[in-house]
């Protein structure tokens, strides 16, 4: 890929990334949304967070093989328990980072 092609490529990437972020905001924020769709959207955040994070706990990102013994999952258990108990985002992130770096030393 030449420099010109590269520039064209990242401009195109920018457009196709920006439009899905922009269009629904502009289009939906100015009008009434059908109640059933609003109800559906209310289930989206928890579902999408779960769909993003759960596979990252169990699957190796490059080979996509399932593994129950990944440190990502083992560290997630106390991290989740702490999140439930403390309701603190900052505290949970710090604890997760500390436990994950400890796991790097302790686990094979």
């Amino acid at each position: 890929m030449t420099s010109g092609q590269y520039l064209l490529c990242i401009l195109g990437m920018g457009v196709v990334t920006y439009l899905p972020r922009w269009l629904p905001l502009i289009w939906l924020s100015g009008r009434e949304i059908p109640p059933l769709f609003v109800q559906w959207l209310k289930f989206v955040p928890a579902s999408i967070l779960s769909a993003l994070v759960v596979p990252s706990l169990f699957l190796d990102p490059s080979s996509r093989t399932f593994d129950l013994t990944r440190p990502e999952f083992l560290v997630a258990l106390p991290t989740l328990a702490f999140a439930w108990w403390s309701r603190s985002l900052g505290g949970t992130v710090l604890l997760g980072m500390i436990l994950y770096s400890l796991a790097g030393f302790l686990l094979p």
Partner: protein, 242 residues
């Protein structure tokens, strides 16, 4: 209550910065590793920085670098980017519920910085009340600046940073876990989240790209709406925690 009121009197951008730090910590780790990988694949620091400024999308940038360095042409890279980032349609639609009547110019600025991470933080803040577009913009653009700076720094000095330093690699996972827990306001929501997580694992084993996120979310949210409509009111009651 007292602490709540003090916090709410802080300027919007201060509240935004406070909410953004876990994202910044995570982006530091991912941005540096992106910079290292892109440099090793033959990209210049200028090319790395330009991609971060123009695209601003973590996973799509990693995919683009690996495609370009293995000889892919322009159209396939753009197509892959489109499908990887299509999930933001769902996030943007959901956030629009909280941004009714906001000026289009601010929404246009806001959309540029919307990622999985800033969506998760902003949605949680909006749904727990008082949170405004200016704080949300601060979250998006603090995260954005951190991403751009980290990828460039990774291109320059990435090789000097020990891999896995300070557990930074886990910052975003811990953040998502915590935000997920904060979203679980009723049994139906918890059930849909569980279904979505299981489906996402199954789909990611068989489907390419990030289709697993979109499909798992859409099926689980539909299930949530169906359950909501079929259960007696007592079971639907929201469980409020102090």
């Amino acid at each position: 209550m007292g602490a709540e009121m003090i916090r709410n009197t802080a300027p919007s951008w201060v509240q935004g910065m406070k909410a953004a730090w876990p994202i910044c910590a995570g982006y530091l780790a991912i941005g540096i590793s992106f910079g290292i990988i892109a440099r090793q694949s033959g990209f210049t620091v200028v090319q790395i920085g330009l991609m971060s400024v123009i695209v601003f999308a973590g996973s799509a940038q990693f995919i683009a670098v690996s495609m370009i360095s293995s000889g892919a042409s322009v159209i396939p890279v753009i197509t892959a980017t489109f499908f990887v980032n299509l999930r933001h349609v769902l996030m943007s639609s959901t956030l629009s519920l909280h941004l009714k009547g906001t000026r289009k110019s601010l929404l246009t600025l806001f959309a540029y910085g919307m990622t999985d991470e800033s969506f998760a933080v902003n949605f949680t803040r909006f749904s727990k009340g008082p949170w405004d577009i200016r704080s949300a913009l601060t979250v998006n653009h603090a995260a954005n600046l951190f991403w751009i700076a980290s990828t460039i720094a990774g291109g320059y000095i990435g090789h000097l940073v020990p891999k896995g330093a300070f557990g930074l690699d886990y910052a975003l996972t811990a953040m998502f876990l915590s935000l997920l827990v904060l979203q679980l306001t009723s049994r139906i929501v918890a059930l849909t989240a569980l279904v979505s997580g299981v489906l996402a694992v199954l789909f990611s084993l068989v489907l390419p790209g990030t289709w697993y996120v979109i499909l798992a979310t859409m099926i689980a949210a539909t299930l949530g709406v169906m359950l909501q409509g079929s259960l007696p009111a007592a079971a639907r009651k929201e469980r409020r925690r102090p």
